[in-house]
Point group: C2
Chain length 619, copies 2
């Protein structure tokens, strides 16, 4: 029922409220715009839907969606401040900070939130953003602490204090947990993406709402018989983490006499395997759903199982050479620590984060003495996971949804070709000449071509680049000139160059509306230089010149297509489309229509980059 309502909500009111939202936030912070993704309706739907989805008992987490909710709030809030709202760079800084506060409240982990935002989400993270995120995450945590939702007086959700330290020999199972975490991450991503592809291609499948209900019923049926899976993920994780001697409420019977038995181990492993499958089919449904908590739960189940194995082994063979360092009469193995390390490793395998996971784990549990084992496990998990696939779960979804996200992790190979090979050549470009245009002819060009802007050259023969005028600026000035007070007729001459003989009252001088210093690269530049222009300077396009003569134009999107191996798609979608390829793509499903907000006829969304130059070049 809960799942049904959540799914109906999402379907009816805001389709972007589904899923975790983190892939989309990454894309937005990478410099693209997704319409309505951070709007009021998305916020309301996601908040309500998340409550319902979590209450439904399905295998999903609340962390990712909370980040999305925080970003929605921030986006709505900054509409009150035009100075920030109109500056895309500052807007993105605010969103980064909001994301930090989202994780901060989700886990009660302010520092972990800042690092999550830094490591996972943000494309561009200057020192200033770090500091802003820090303040934001801290304030969020303070407010949470003041509300005291867990009635424990503590921010930390799963605080554990272990009375023992770890022994050298335990590094072997810890490394094993790291391996398992990496394998889990790699397999999970493969399974989840396989389900997603299958779901997309299988046309006979019922609608998204039915799917959600089916998965919810399946989850209920599978979960109920298993003691560990019947409860909420967060309760389960909390109990798995805890040390037996400290546990007051042994809900799952993990500490009762005889719990360290083969039966418990099998049940734990079984729960982990079931959880794996349920999470793989749940993540991607049309409800708000995160993947962080399920991964932690699965990792913790496996970790606890291995911990119990070690405990039994040590108990039965106390004289085994590795166990010499154990003190007699004191429990040598603490299965709870294995659960923590397993959870960290599983999280590392799925998301491929490193530093933030370690910080989150120890803000979550306070297990300071276990920092090193956690680090070792996360490191190995990332190595193993990377061996399966370079992409973490969020990057995989970005790739699956074909969001135009230009990965700046420097791990995608950039082909060593001249950029001129993939640029749109001047022959295929719509360029404006400096002279010879009238208001009517310019209007006609704009109506005919949907591009976001036009290069301006001296004349068609020797195409000396003079500047670049964006569609928005051109449309504005053409419209303004034909209205009072100027009331210029459509046949008025319009030019982009100095015309000493022109009468300023009867002609239109467009020079001040043109970016007269567009950024250019020499013609022979390699592609990787162009890519670093896009990545580091935040440009949206760059023009190529040879001794002042325009040679061609390359957009961020062209590069994205090439780097993501979709060269063919692009070519079929119309070769001479340098701008706004997003809407020109053929056969896009309705949902993705207008996704990037760069479409013809739509309100122009002007986006400036961190370097804040001009504005027209920069998305």
């Amino acid at each position: 029922m809960f799942a049904l309502s959540a799914s109906l909500l999402v379907k009816e009111y805001a389709v972007y409220a589904k899923h975790s939202g983190i892939p989309e936030i990454k894309t937005v912070l990478g410099g693209f715009i997704i319409r309505r993704f951070l709007g009021l309706w998305t916020l309301i739907t996601k908040s309500l839907g998340l409550v319902l989805a979590v209450a439904s008992g399905m295998w999903l987490g609340k962390e990712g969606p909370l980040v999305h909710v925080a970003c929605c709030c921030a986006n709505l809030f900054i509409k009150l401040f035009p100075s920030i709202n109109n500056n895309e760079a500052r807007k993105r800084e605010v969103l980064s900070a909001a994301a930090a506060s989202g994780i901060s409240v989700a886990f009660g982990s302010p520092i972990g939130g800042v690092l999550f935002s830094l490591e996972q989400l943000s494309y561009y993270f200057p020192d200033k953003t770090m500091w802003q995120s820090f303040v934001c995450a801290m304030t969020a945590a303070m407010v949470l602490e003041a509300f005291d939702p867990f009635r424990s007086g503590k921010l930390v959700m799963y605080q554990v204090t272990y009375s023992s330290v770890w022994h050298g020999f335990e590094l072997v199972p810890f490394v094993l947990l790291g391996l398992l975490g990496g394998v889990y991450g790699g397999l999970f991503i493969k399974a989840n993406m396989w389900v997603a592809r299958w779901r997309k291609s299988a046309t006979w499948l019922p609608g998204p709402v039915i799917q959600v209900v089916a998965v919810a019923i399946l989850t209920a049926l599978l979960n109920y018989p298993n003691n560990y899976m019947r409860a909420q993920c967060s309760d389960l994780v909390s109990n798995l983490f805890s040390e037996c001697s400290k546990l007051t409420d042994d809900q799952f019977g993990l500490c009762k006499t005889g719990a360290a038995s083969a039966g418990t181990i099998i049940l734990l492993i079984f729960a982990a395997v079931l959880g794996f499958f349920l999470a793989a089919i749940t993540f991607g449904l049309q409800i708000p759903a995160g993947i962080i908590l399920p991964s932690m739960a699965i990792g913790a189940l496996v970790g606890r199982a291995i911990g119990i194995i070690m405990e039994i082994w040590q108990h039965n063979h106390p004289n085994f050479i590795a166990f010499r360092s154990c003190e007699p009469d004191v429990p040598c193995i603490t299965p709870g620590t294995y659960a923590i390390i397993g959870a960290a490793a599983a999280l590392g395998g799925v998301t491929r984060m490193t530093v933030s996971i370690v910080v989150i784990m120890f803000e979550l549990t306070g297990a300071l003495t276990y920092v090193l084992p956690i680090m070792v496990a996360v490191m190995i998990s990332k190595w193993v996971g990377d061996a399966f696939s370079r992409r973490g779960i969020y990057e995989s979804w970005i790739h699956f949804n074909e969001y135009p996200y230009l990965d700046n992790s420097e791990e995608i190979p950039i082909p060593d070709i001249p950029a001129s090979q993939i640029m749109t050549r001047i022959e295929d470009l719509v360029v404006l000449t400096a002279t010879g245009h009238t208001i009517a002819s310019l209007t006609a060009v704009m109506e005919q071509h949907p591009y976001r802007g036009f290069p301006v050259v001296s004349d068609p023969r020797d195409a000396i680049l003079l500047g670049y005028i964006s569609r928005a600026e051109l449309a504005y000035i053409l419209h303004a000139s034909t209205q009072p007070p100027r009331l210029l007729p459509p046949e008025t001459e319009a030019f982009f160059a100095h015309q000493p003989l022109a009468d300023p009252r009867t002609t239109l001088d467009l020079r001040q509306w043109m970016d007269q210093t567009p950024l250019t690269l020499p013609r022979g530049s390699r592609l990787h230089l162009a890519v670093s222009y896009f990545q580091k300077l935040g440009l949206r396009y760059v023009m190529f010149v040879d001794r002042g003569v325009l040679q061609g134009l390359l957009t961020k999107k062209d590069v994205w297509y090439v780097l993501n191996g979709a060269e063919e798609t692009r070519r079929t979608a119309g070769r001479g489309e340098p701008m706004g390829g997003g809407v020109a793509r053929e056969g896009g499903d309705g949902e993705r229509e207008g996704l990037l907000g760069v479409g013809r006829g739509e309100e122009e969304v002007e986006v400036v980059s961190p370097i804040g130059d001009g504005g027209s070049n920069l998305l």
Copy 2:
């Protein structure tokens, strides 16, 4: 005696072993080269000197110097791997990772080390570096743990476990501690820089070795009478942090009956004030000396004093409205927590770091419940400190030493002027023409002008930019051509453009040695765009063109001079010096001579930037 030997060592063997080294590392990571700074002699001297300096009991820390030592080791180690050693971008990544491991072992705080490297040191910190630093810091911590130098089996130096949580009313003194930390930071930087300037200008002062000995004797005299200052800083900090009920060895009498008295408070404050003055004169002497530990000690002293004040107050007025939340018969105030928060605030005030301090403090102490108060205090401390001066202690030293560090924190105001105002105009540039040169004439140009490279234009009248040839490449090919097997005579024609009639056997075609796609900006570009080229793309210079015609050249160093208000210095040092201004500066003292390694006649140091294009443009 220890101090004397340390100082002699530094003076005799490696002048760069003095000080903390962090300002220099920041400069190096910012893309400049400081000769011998990371050499073998510096390593040996710094290691030995640091041991001696710490043993001398002066008010100095070992953390900064350990970072320097780690970077020296890394620098020497990567000489074994030419593929890294010849790639400046990867070299800097390795140095960032080494810095992380330095802090990791100094504090036993691996995550704090990574964040320190990220927040304080690194100019350019991609995800990959984060991951490398993480592995590096972790390995360092593992090795340290295996050596177990503190014989405690724990990595954490000052582990504390507080039995109580904090109360809402305590936020008031915590905020006060933040304020005090900020004021301390601001004043300390002012005092320290004043001492540094005075020391530089007062010519009657004895040599550096005598100064060190004098300060050491003064320190000994002042420290001995005060119980708190007699011990090593680290012992003091450890005791100040601890909770009385847990303390086993009450070396300083902080917990004995009657310790919570006005006398103790006065003594603590007195020790803090003395420590302030001693640290201010010590940091900057010619011995290896860090500022992190002294700042922590001063903050902890003040914090503990305020903690004791609160304790007495609460004890005497248990019914005061704020103290209602205290439980009876249990100590309500834990002065040790005040010491931790005071230390964090002081560190924040001096270094202006935020996230790394919080993480270091809690890796250092395990005081997880106190994360929020620490964050509040650090935040306020940074605010207050920034009100005194935007520069932290390391930036102040960079400024004082006039290192060419281009701050990328976006907090320095960039004047909104066209870059062409400060570029070296083409009239003042030494340019090569594409034709009309011989080997002899090119050699003459090189001998006459010390610049690191020369723009190549078509011909002097219409100076169409063809490319840029670096001094190193030009020198190499000219030298190679006159040697066997080619043995070209000096009057051989040399050209940079396609010459269809030239005989390749008797002429020299230099095109392949020239960077044929130098990066350019349009003439009218604003300075802030040029600055982001330098900061984000890591360029060393950029040329300005107007429709293909070279207009001028701007170097990173020109920009640095302008941004640091040293415009006048630059002008007097020779206006037409576009390259290698560092050595051309007049009146540089012997110590700074050749500091930047860009000098005439010296071995050319070719430095590539993160984007790794070509190489000749990129420092």
